[in-house]
Structures are given as C-alpha cells and as structure tokens.
C-alpha cells in the first residue's frame, strides 16, 4: 500500500474529500438505488459516477472496471432472469429456444444497475483515498484500533504474500512447467513450493505479534492518535448534507409510490 508521496492517487477534488464523506456517499447512492422501484434512478447515478471519475482523474481505470464487470453480468442476468424468471408474463423478444420476458429483464436490469452503483462508488472511494487516512478517520470517530489494524495489515500483508507466490510461479514458468504435463504433474510441481511460503508466513506472524506488543498495540483505556491528519472541511459538510437529503428524498418518494400516491415506475411495453 503506497504512501502519500509515492502512491498512484492523483490530486483531485475527490482525493481531497474527507474519507467519511465519501463513505456517506457510497451508502446514500447505493441505498437509494436499492429502494427505487426500477432501474432508472440507478442509471442516472451511474452517469453521475462517470462524471465523478473524471473529476477524480481516474476515468480510464474506472471505465475498465465498470464495463469489464458490467457487460458480462448484464448478459448473464438478462439470460437467466430474463428468460426464466418466474415472474415473466409479457414477452419482448422471442429467441427460439427461449423467450425474453419483460418482468425478468426489468428485474435483471435493476440488479445490474444496483451492482454497478455499489461497484462504482466503492471503486471511486478506494482509488481516491489513501487507506491510512481512511483508518485514521475511522479511529477518530471511535472505531477500535484492532479493526483498523486488520484492514491496513491485510492491505499490506496480502500483496506481499502474493508477490512471493508470483516469484515462485515465474520460476516454474522458467522451468517450462506450464506447458505440457497434466493436472497431476502441475500440482506435484507447484504444491511443494507453496508449503514453505505458507508455513514461513505463519511462523513470521509470531514475531510480528511480538513487534505489535512491544509497540503498545491494543492498550486499553488509551485514546489512539494518528500521525496522519484528516481534516473535515466545509465542502465535506456540504457534500454529506447533499447525500443525506438525496437519500431521504429517494426513501420518501419510494414510500409514496408504494402507498400508491404517485407513480414512479415507467410502463414498458411488451406482448402478453
């Protein structure tokens, strides 16, 4: 996990936003999309997220992730839910071996859109936030330091272990073991090398625990402080208020729609 100077986080409006404000955004946008009766709100939010990606200067990786996940899952769900959902009554497309139903497709669209909103907002938050600042912000509002430790340590330890494995994989390729040889021979070549990595990681943990203890980790009754300073600015208050208002509005409108007072869902056509 890189530090502020050497990481890949470009300075931008989003990067300067307080991590908790961004979390508020993720929750608000995600929940609003979830409760909305159909996929229209989510679609609008996705467009907003793309604009935010531009503001955060991460448009290219963002688009890659959104499309890379969005397209396959849309196809799969349109197929599974669209053709075979039990709630299908109206047909919009006849494929021969199956019929694409309206309700199923709408359901699939809603799911895809919700997933993409969560994925997009999560991804944007992740890519524009230095994790150390996020955990510092969480610690400030009282989240136990052990949880902060688990998040940060996983983000550091796991890539380090994966790098060790990657080195082993490369040495296997160099020995030409990728081509030729069935499953058994590959397993026999690969597994004995994983064993030492796993076992040495486990025994490493004992010394790492020693280090944590001698640095006073987990002292009770002491308010943790952070080296990093996370400043809450007026713009963060504004954004959080906007997010909250948005969510509340969405909830209110949905309740009204459920009660039948207003119609939110658009009527799509289709044969019965």
């Amino acid at each position: 996990m890189p530090g502020p100077a050497s990481n890949g986080i470009p300075d931008s409006l989003l990067a300067r936003m307080h991590p908790m404000a961004k979390i508020a955004g993720v929750c608000s946008l995600g929940l609003a999309t979830l409760v909305w009766p159909d996929f229209t709100l989510g679609l609008g939010i996705i467009v907003v997220l793309f604009i935010a990606a531009v503001l955060g200067r991460v448009l290219r990786p963002f688009s890659g992730v959104m499309l890379g996940f969005g397209i396959p899952v849309t196809l799969m769900l349109l197929f599974i839910q669209g053709c075979y959902s039990p709630r299908n009554t109206k047909v919009i497309l006849d494929l021969g071996f199956a019929q694409l139903g309206l309700e199923g497709s709408l359901y699939a669209a809603k799911i895809v859109v919700t997933l993409l909103v969560f994925l997009g907002s999560f991804y944007l938050t992740n890519k524009t936030t230095y994790m150390g600042r996020l955990v510092a912000a969480l610690t400030q509002i009282g989240v136990p330091s052990k949880i902060g430790y688990l998040i940060l340590a996983s983000l550091n330890v796991v890539p380090q272990m994966q790098r060790r494995i990657a080195v082993i994989e490369q040495s296997q390729h160099a020995r030409g073991l990728e081509t030729g040889g069935g499953l058994i021979s590959r397993a026999r070549a690969f597994l004995p090398l994983l064993g030492p990595v796993v076992l040495s990681s486990l025994t490493d943990s004992q010394e790492r625990g020693m280090t944590l203890e001698t640095r006073g980790f987990g002292i009770r009754g002491v308010r943790q402080t952070s080296y990093l300073e996370v400043v809450w600015r007026r713009s963060d208050t504004v954004m959080t208020i906007l997010f909250t208002v948005f969510l509340v509005l969405a909830l209110v409108l949905c309740c009204l729609s459920r009660a039948g007072l207003i119609t939110l869902a658009i009527q799509w056509g289709g044969r019965a």
């Binding site: 530090g3 340590a153 280090t211 203890e213 402080t225 080296y227």
Partner: protein
C-alpha cells in the same frame, strides 16, 4: 553504579516443550554498560531476550520461576506496553519488525506513539528526531516494504528508540544484514551506549563482543556457564565446550604461548594483540 536489570534464579519452559529452556539464570546489568550474551544455537539466548522485555510471560505461554526486574519493576507484574518505555527489543528479521499498518516510514515510526495516545505535534517532533538519529530522514516518505533489510532494521531500531527506553536489547540484530548494513546499525548502537543507554546484545561475532563488551555472559544449554569481563571469559578454556568460537586473538595468543613465548595475558582484542606481538618480537 545502579543496577538496571536484575535477573534472579529465572527459569522458563515453553508449553509442551521437551525440556526447560532457561535454568536458574541469574545476573545483573549496570546502567550504561554494554552487556553481551553469547552461546550456541538453542542455548536460550532469544528466550532470555524475550524475558527481558516482558514477552515472557505476557506473550509466550509456558511455566516460569524466579524473577526478572527492569529498573526496579518486576516484569511479571508489569505490562509489555509499560516496559516498552524502559526497555526496547530489536531482533533478527527486519521485516517482522514492521507493523504492516504504515504506508510510509514516518507513519511506521509513529506507530508506537499512536498506540500510547501521544499528541500529533509531539509525534512529528519525535519522528524527526529519531529519523535524524538513525540517518533515515530521506526515507521518511517511502513505503517501508520497499526498503532494503538494513534500512528496515534502522526503521525498526528507530521505532523502538522513539519510546525513549533506557535499555536496548539486541537479539542478533545484524545477522540477516550485509556487512555495510551491519556496520551502520552497530555504529548507531555504540553511539547510543556512549550517550548512556544500557545495551544488552546477543551476538555471534566474538571479535566485536570482545571489543565492545564490559561484561560477557556465556549461556549453555539454558544455564549461565560464565560471566565476567571479556578478558576473563574468553581466556577460560572451559568456555569453548559450550559452542563458543573464541576470538582469533586468543587463539593467536595461545599459539604463541604453546610455542614457548612468555605472555602475561592472553589478548582478546585487536589492540591487545598488537601490543602482545610487539612485546614478543
């Protein structure tokens, strides 16, 4: 001279172990001295180091007898966090002495202070001071995982010193480093000792031990086999059977003595050896 470490009849056995690792160890260390512990592998040196900082009994599980006190505090009734302000530990593997929560060296150094609730201004000041001491100012913005072993060990030493302990316990802390990294660490340790910090060092390099130590303790199979000034310990013929490779100078002196030269004392250090050779020639 005040006693800062007092170990009295201390014994320890790890849970489910075949034998007791430390047996009736007793010694004391005076303030500001340079105390070295030597011994073969498995003689209990690391266990003793862990006992000095409170990892035994608060982290490692096992049975113990006897007592260890640091600056008058009984280790068994203090906490590791309390003790860390009086005694610090640096051990062999540099990469196991990182918290893995820091994205930069500065955050890593401040980790212990954050756990103790120190204010941010104080943190920044202490980090700057320790970084200057360890010659790592240029590394403050770097990711600790991208540094070399020697650099990480300096960060580890810095993270320990930032708690401002009066005693430093070093468990073979240069064993995994290249000679340059090793020398850098050792220079810093020597300077710290000259400033008054008590150093307890476990090492295999006997020439270094002979050169710097005020007292040397030999551990063999969990017991204290010899304790005294380097001149006494290294010239004692019994000591070698505990797996200690005595300094070359002693072997040189013995060789000359066997050849018939009359020597007053056997040399353990370079300067003594030089003097001895001059005398004989």
């Amino acid at each position: 001279m005040t006693e800062v470490i007092r170990v009295e009849d201390f014994s320890f056995r790890y849970r489910d172990a075949d034998r007791t690792t430390l047996k009736r160890v007793s010694f004391s260390v005076e303030q500001g001295s340079f105390f070295c512990i030597v011994g073969a592998n498995g003689s209990g040196k690391s266990t003793l180091c862990n006992a000095l900082v409170g990892l035994i009994p608060h982290y490692f599980v096992g049975k113990s007898k006897g007592s260890v006190s640091i600056e008058g505090r009984d280790v068994a009734s203090s906490t590791i966090a309390d003790l860390s302000r009086h005694v610090g530990l640096v051990f062999q593997n540099p990469f196991n002495q990182l918290s893995y929560t820091a994205g930069t060296v500065a955050e890593e150094l401040a980790f212990g202070l954050g756990n103790h609730g120190v204010s941010r201004e104080t943190m920044h000041a202490k980090v700057a001071r320790v970084a200057a001491l360890m010659h790592i100012e240029d590394l403050l913005d770097k990711n600790p995982l991208e540094l070399s072993g020697g650099q990480v060990q300096r960060v580890a030493l810095g993270s320990t010193l930032i708690m401002e302990p009066d005693i430093l316990v070093l468990d073979e802390c240069t064993a995994q480093l290249d000679p340059l990294g090793s020398e850098e660490i050792f220079d810093i340790v020597k300077r710290l000792n000259q400033k008054g910090i008590t150093v307890v060092m476990v090492d295999h390099d006997m020439e270094r031990v002979a050169r710097c130590a005020d007292q040397v303790m030999v551990l063999g199979a969990g017991r204290v086999r010899a304790l005294g000034a380097p001149e006494e310990v290294f010239t004692d013929p019994e000591v070698e059977k505990w797996g200690i490779d005595i300094p070359d100078y002693v072997k040189l002196g013995r060789g000359l003595k066997d050849a018939g030269f009359d020597l007053s004392d056997l040399p353990v250090r370079e300067d003594q050896a030089v003097r001895m050779i001059r005398e004989t020639l």
